[in-house]
């Protein structure tokens, strides 16, 4: 083993054997300044203990698989650098606020249902035929929704959200941001269909202006803004004359 090592403490939990999750420590060689927490987990799995379970794929911050709590903060482990923690140990746990399937693997079925519930597709009264070509949309119109379209569904915002932690009925940051992404798209006419789902969902009014979701987002999405805008939309729905309620 090279001189420099780092201590990784990872959650172990196998529902077939364990009543409670526990932390297990592994000493991992820290041989390159470019190493990330995910590299350390991969070293454990390849060379120390093949039974450690976690999800990962792209290792470039875009597939959204490898979100975990790193020293208590929700992070993509593929861009959480060991050099920022060494020589202290790194504690890696499954994302907060989710049921745990195994070790570092969370159950995100709840989000998958919520994603579908907000109808995340273009809704139009009349679909444009393919032969008519593209909808005209300027880059400025794309800028209206661009940041909300950058969500990689990594679940860090849910792990950081105090409201979701207390009430899992809350639609939550990412799903609200994605609803906003479609509502702001100049090609879309589905606001009226989505608003009841997003505005009347439990929890949206409990969302304080804490904005932890926006702080932890690795892609610069601001779900807190989406939630506040949604509240405003909902309020406007009741104060605007009938014809303008879209």
């Amino acid at each position: 083993m090279p001189d420099k090592t780092i201590m990784i403490r990872a959650t172990r939990y196998d529902p077939e054997k364990d009543d409670q999750p526990r932390l297990q420590s592994y000493e991992v060689p820290f041989y390159d300044e470019s190493m990330v927490v995910l590299d350390a987990l991969n070293h454990v799995k390849s060379h120390i203990d093949g039974s450690l379970s976690y999800r990962w794929s792209c290792r470039m911050g875009i597939c959204g698989s490898c979100g975990m709590m790193v020293n208590g903060t929700p992070k993509l482990t593929c861009n959480a650098f060991l050099r920022d923690y060494w020589p202290r140990p790194v504690t890696v746990e499954p994302l907060n606020n989710f049921p745990v399937i195994r070790d570092l693997v969370i159950d995100m079925d709840d989000f998958m249902h919520k994603l579908k519930s907000i109808k995340p597709w273009i809704i139009r009264k009349q679909e444009l035929p393919l032969g008519a070509g593209e909808h005209r949309q300027t880059n400025e119109q794309i800028d209206e929704f661009r940041q909300f379209s950058e969500c990689i569904n990594c679940m860090l915002c849910y792990a950081a959200c105090p409201v979701y932690g207390l009430n899992s009925e809350f639609l939550g940051p990412a799903a609200t941001a994605l609803a906003r992404r479609y509502n702001l798209d100049s090609r879309d006419e589905g606001l009226k269909q989505r608003l009841p789902v997003i505005a009347d969902s439990e929890g949206i009014w409990e969302c304080s202006f804490v904005g932890e979701c926006s702080v932890v987002c690795p892609k610069g999405v601001d779900p807190a803004k989406a939630i506040q805008q949604t509240k405003l939309d909902t309020t406007m729905r009741f104060v605007l004359p009938y014809g303008n309620r879209e």
């Binding site: 390849s46 039974s51 990962w56 794929s57 597939c63 399937i101 597709w121």
Partner: protein
């Protein structure tokens, strides 16, 4: 025993797979479609595609030039009828993606914008900034949620294709969360499992790109075509292999050696940075060998320089590159050159399939990177693969739905026995095995090192023979592998073992196919046979499974329509 049954079953949830699923439903709304993916669909490796999707929609563009560029880029190994059909469908598919919400970057008048790309003679690459694959995948996945006919099986790993009387009737899949083996039957099955980059150590590909569909089809008796044709992208970040998009050069970035020289003037003088990937990767390795690379802690590299483009343009068109530079290299590409070197990126080879995605096995289809429909030949042009996923995903979906509409239903009788046999095989080979001193990780790492060394940018007989031999040794060690994890719940080690089994299989096919092609064509550069030999090798290699590691190799003529092979210079 109960099992799920569908009309069409799609294996893989990336761009080709989801496009196929939607096409099947739109072709026939009564068709029930299942989609099995080993990850949630939005994690599929399409998500990492950056630069764009090619389609002849720009002013002054034509089908003919897109076809010719693709065929020349393929070093004449593409089937020209397939290319001609592809270039006609690609613009339709790009518009379809637009209607499904893909945020394509636009011209000032609101139409879809195009950018230059390598090997293309005109601007024809549609893009969503530099996260095109991400935006396309999320758009198509989210759109797929509106079809009640599509049922997903997320995080299920297909271990075997069910084939009866030469007809594919479904799959056996391991439900990763519960450890249960399920038979999922269907009248037709579409493989859309992506590439195999993880057989190499230095690759842009994500951890999930392990050649599953290719190996499944090969073992079921289908051919694997042109497996010697492996693409190395010129610009990967040293150490991680993270992709720096070709769009960086498309937008005007320079490739510089340690003399500060745009060295491509010696290799592709008319194209410079917009030459095709195979030639630029070879040029970089040659420069390294002649002492004109930079030396870094992770080997030799070149500079990719965009500083002259300015911050505003970089933020508009290459924001993800700036983010990757900042986060993974600690540089600001507005102020610093990007260190890059050639990296495994894409597999031209794949499951032998025709223009409709049909394989040699009745009821079995393939699309996307796991397939070889004859589009890419010896070298794929950048931005043709996202379009390929759309065009041939849709074609396979329609063909599979059509076949399913008339095919007879799958009967339960043989399926039960096949499921039982397959579950017993996996359990006895991995879960219940006592003893066995070998571990998965070290075997995988050694395979990856061997592939980098033997089947890289340049190959020769000696290296490929050694590779084939050493892969045989690794296969023997793999037989003695011991899995630490005995749990049924989310056992990622057994998934890794199954993936390694597949990777060793396809690696051998690459080695033997490459050994037999005694010429240089496209990405297959033999130092011992530096010339292209159309008389012997204007042919597809088709590899079939045998009882040994060496496949039986067959050769098939390339389809030529309008473009006679010429010397390939740029």
């Amino acid at each position: 025993m109960d099992f799920e049954t569908y009309d069409v079953l799609v294996v893989g949830g990336g761009l080709a797979g989801i496009r196929a699923a939607i096409a099947a439903v739109e072709a026939n709304p009564r068709v029930r479609v299942g989609m099995v993916s080993k990850v949630y669909p939005m994690r599929s490796h399409t998500v990492s595609a950056e630069g764009g999707a090619a389609a002849a929609i720009g002013p002054g563009d034509s089908y003919e030039t897109h076809a010719f560029d693709t065929i020349k880029g393929s070093d004449y190994l593409a089937d020209q009828d397939v290319v001609e059909a592809f270039v006609r469908e690609a613009p339709v598919e790009v518009i379809q993606m637009e209607h499904w919400g893909c945020p394509w970057s636009r011209n000032p008048d609101g139409s879809i914008a195009v950018r230059p790309f390598g090997g293309m003679t005109t601007w024809r690459t549609c893009f969503a900034a530099d996260k095109t694959g991400f935006h396309m995948l999320h758009a198509v996945f989210q759109t797929s949620l509106k079809y009640p006919q599509i049922t997903r099986h997320d995080e299920a790993f297909v271990t075997k294709l069910l084939v009866e009387d030469s007809r594919c009737i479904g799959v056996v899949a391991l439900d990763i969360r519960t450890g249960r083996f399920d038979a999922i039957t269907a009248k037709s099955v579409i493989l859309a499992t992506g590439g195999l980059g993880r057989v190499y150590a230095f690759t842009t590909n994500g951890n999930i790109c392990t050649g599953d569909g290719m190996s499944l089809a090969y073992r079921a008796g289908a051919g694997l075509k042109d497996m010697e044709m492996v693409q190395f992208h010129p610009t990967g970040l040293p150490f991680t292999g993270i992709l720096i998009t070709e769009a960086v050069r498309g937008e005007g970035g320079y490739l510089l050696n340690n003399q500060g020289e745009r060295f491509l003037k010696r290799y592709v003088p008319n194209k410079m940075e917009l030459g095709p990937r195979d030639i630029i990767s070879r040029a970089m390795i040659t420069e390294f060998e002649e002492g004109r690379g930079f030396d870094g802690p992770h080997g030799k590299y070149m500079h990719l320089d965009v500083r002259h483009l300015g911050e505003k343009m970089i933020d508009r068109k290459l924001p993800f590159m700036r983010e990757l530079g900042r986060e993974f290299v600690g540089i600001d590409i507005v102020k610093d050159p990007i260190p890059v070197r050639p990296v495994q990126h894409y597999m031209m080879g794949g499951v032998d399939a025709n223009i409709s995605g049909e394989t040699e096995i009745l009821g079995l289809y393939a699309a996307g990177e796991c397939a070889n429909v004859g589009l890419n030949g010896g070298n794929r042009l950048g931005s043709n693969s996202l379009s390929e996923c759309l065009v041939f995903g849709a074609a396979a979906g329609r063909a599979a739905a059509h076949y399913a509409s008339s095919a007879k239903a799958v009967t339960a009788n043989p399926v039960d026995a096949m499921l039982w046999d397959e579950a017993r095989r996996v359990e006895s080979e991995y879960l219940e095995k006592k003893g066995g001193a070998e571990r998965i990780g070290p075997i995988r790492e050694e395979m990856q090192r061997e592939m980098d060394a033997g089947a890289g940018v340049f190959r020769n007989k000696e290296g490929l023979s050694r590779l084939a031999r050493n892969l045989g040794g690794l296969r023997e060690r793999f037989e003695k592998v011991k899995v630490d994890d005995s749990s049924r719940t989310f056992n990622t080690e057994i998934v890794a073992a199954l993936e390694l089994d597949f990777m060793l299989e396809v690696s051998s096919v690459i080695a033997f196919s490459a050994l037999a092609r005694e010429e240089s064509r496209g990405a297959h550069a033999r130092t011992d046979f530096p010339e292209r030999h159309d008389d012997r090798f204007l042919k597809h290699t088709v590899a079939f499974h045998t009882n040994t590691l060496a496949p039986r190799l067959d050769y098939r003529d390339v389809k030529i329509t309008h473009f006679q092979p010429q010397a390939r210079t740029y």
